[in-house]
Amino acid sequence: MGLGIFQSRNTSAEFGTRIRRLRAPGVGTMESLPTPLDNLVTEEYDDHDDQLDDLREAIEASDIEVGERMIIAAQLSKRMPSTTQLLSSFRTRNGSASSRIDNTPSRRQEPKTTFPADAKPTASLPSTPVAKRSRLQALCMELVQTEKRYHRDLALLVQTFVHGLRAVHPELIHELTPNCEQLLELHSGLCDQMVAAAATKSDEALASALGSELLRVSPFFTMYVSYCAHFMRGNELLEKAHKSNPMLSKAIADAEAHIQRRNIVERGENAPVSIFAFLIKPVQRLCQFPLLFKEIVKAMSPPTNRKFEPPKPGTARNAAFCPREGKEKAEYVLAVLEDVAQLVNDRVWLRERELRLLEELDTSRLQLGNPSQTSDIAIMGPTAALKMELRARIDLHSSTLAAKRNSMKNGSQSKSSKVLANITDGIGLRRSQQGDGRCKLRMGEDCAQRLSKLYILADSVICADPATTGGTFNVLAHWPLRLVHARVVIDNEADESVAEPPSGHLEIRNGREILTCWCDLKDASEVSTLIAKLQSDLAALSNRRNLGGGANAEQDTSRTSIPEPTGAGASTSKLSSRCSLSTSPHDSLSMRTTSSWARVWRSLGTMRAMGES
């Protein structure tokens, strides 16, 4: 593959234009040579060795068959009886120009030619650089060809699957490929530019042009974050919908059959087509760019005097400069492509984690069906996370709390307190350590401002409500690469001058660990009261929802078992519970912030409803 374009352009006329491109500043032109050589531009060179080499390379790089080369050589020598002689004179640098001019009284100059007329054309050519050159050309063409193919596939994906299925199930398509059309647009442009470059350039020049094009579009490759994230999540929805919605499955089957027929007609391929294979293509393509370009970089000749080292992973996009040409530029482009793919990979990973956690958090609420303003905000299903959270709190109650306080007091920053510091600093909460290891949280002046900023950076923080100036914040953040769910309960009204310090607490769920920092809970007995409250809440809820045998939350403070969902009701038997341990003043405050959660629930609700339909 990758040679299709070559084959269509191996005519001698094409060959002529190729040579002209090779040396732009033409001086003289052959006037009356008949075809196919009248396209040949002859130029005067001081260095005839150069001239010869260029032509030799041009012919080598092009796909002209040996036979055709012979014909060109023969025509050249027929037209110019002195070619042989001239060719040998080309070998001597300078001085040969005058002799050549003497031999061509019409002051025409000979077209450049590769072959001494008396030698077999290929035999006389140096093999290594030539092989390298044509390999580079082939690799460049592979990039162009695969881009064309990808563009076709994307177009098919949009026209057939996206348009076809949108009519049947618009929400699904929105979830599955929200930006497929934009990707197509991006790659239409890229593909056109690449094909245009391939038509006018070759070898290093082509590689450089392709590099420039990729560099130009690379910032837009972040679109793939959205594509890949939705693709990975959407697959599940697609499968469910496929099973339950006969209209949809028929539309998919029709689209697949349509593409299969087109493949047979247009490509002579008869392989089964599946929507999955099409949907995954952008994911594959993004990863392919670095692979393809790496081969191109390898095939390029090394820079004569290196000025730039290839950028280290992760640094290319921030590099202050980009080498202008040659292998150094290609290395830079490669580094950018690798970084972009890595970036997409990492961001998709983070989104996956975030969504998983959100799902865990919102499940029960959604199933209660009423994300009303009045209920408390921290609601979790009877998941492993909740169990662990309860255990962690109970553990805290006994020995761990003391240990933790000690470690905080001693100033040795544990991992948990580092996370805490990161979060609180990030949203502008001031912490002040108290003598007994507890810390106070207070909102700084710029807290609301910071929160709104964080809110905009939806990648970093979800559902911190900028409108809220006090109360409970739910912060879902990854810091720096780990997902953290934190609840910040603070009392904004309190003020340093007031004798009673503001109280609150911060809970951090960091992957599997749940870290709770108590800020101003008076003593351990209060903790156990809260745990009891939590448990009774759980029991009450599960009773209310009439889960068979579900409500047996033990009152034992050392161990708590959460009722397991049973039987067919498993999917709907998610428990919800008030997990807020905040004391009375915060209960009223926390009600203000439900709107942020409601927003998240609403957006997830659409997704969920689709999954269940």
């Binding site: 697959n235 099973k243 599946s274 999955f276 294979a277 594959q284 997409v344 998709v348």
Partner: protein, 204 residues
């Protein structure tokens, strides 16, 4: 290329393992019976289709290859979706690739959507005489993970066919997997439906 005709089962099989262990060579050897000595890295292979007959049953395999994208783990995890069979490949001459198998297995556990996908461990490149992993070691590792172990050489064809047939056999022996494959639950959505779509033949 004529349409492959009817088949009893349609299975999705995935090749995983470190870059450079010869996954693509293995795939090409099996599907096209070809071998390229200097295959640089896999580019552009989506998946290959091959029909095999095992125990009297015709199974159509769509065999996927992660195509050199191993380093983008999150993105490649989407390949695991709906896989019935998974072939873990390592290079018997590179201990490192053997050591990484555990990671691949963990990844598999995390992302595979079909329960109990049939797994097979394949040691490739046995034609090269620079072994760093012994047969016993690999067999012991495979046994611990309840996998079969097969040694192959994509270059000399040794064991290649057997490896793929082994996977098919294992899928056929696992009722859950068969159930998953017969429905439209897998990622091969719609693939199974194409059986009997005779209208296509007019284009052949």
């Amino acid at each position: 290329m004529a349409y492959a005709g009817s088949f009893d089962h349609l299975f999705k099989v995935l090749l995983i393992g470190d870059a450079g262990v010869g996954k693509s060579s293995l795939l090409l050897r099996f599907t096209d019976d070809s071998f390229e000595e200097h295959m640089a890295s896999t580019i552009g292979v989506d998946f290959k289709v091959k029909t095999v007959v095992v125990g009297g049953k015709t199974a159509k395999l769509t065999i996927w290859d992660t195509a050199g994208q191993e380093r983008f783990r999150t993105l490649t995890s989407s390949y695991y979706r709906g896989c019935h069979g998974i072939i873990l490949v390592f290079d018997v001459n590179e201990r490192e690739t053997f050591n990484h198998l555990q990671q691949w297995l963990e990844e598999l556990d995390m992302y595979a959507t079909v329960q109990n996908a049939a797994k097979l461990l394949v040691g490739n490149k046995i034609d090269l005489q620079q072994r760093e992993v012994t047969v016993e070691e690999a067999t012991a590792f495979a046994r611990k993970q309840a996998m079969m172990y097969v040694e192959v050489s994509a270059k000399t064809r040794a064991g290649v066919r057997q490896a793929f047939e082994e996977v098919v056999q294992k899928i056929l022996d696992t009722p859950d997997l068969l159930a998953a494959a017969s429905g439209e639950t897998s990622s091969g959505i719609g693939l199974a439906k194409q059986e009997g779509d005779t209208g296509l033949c007019s284009y052949c």
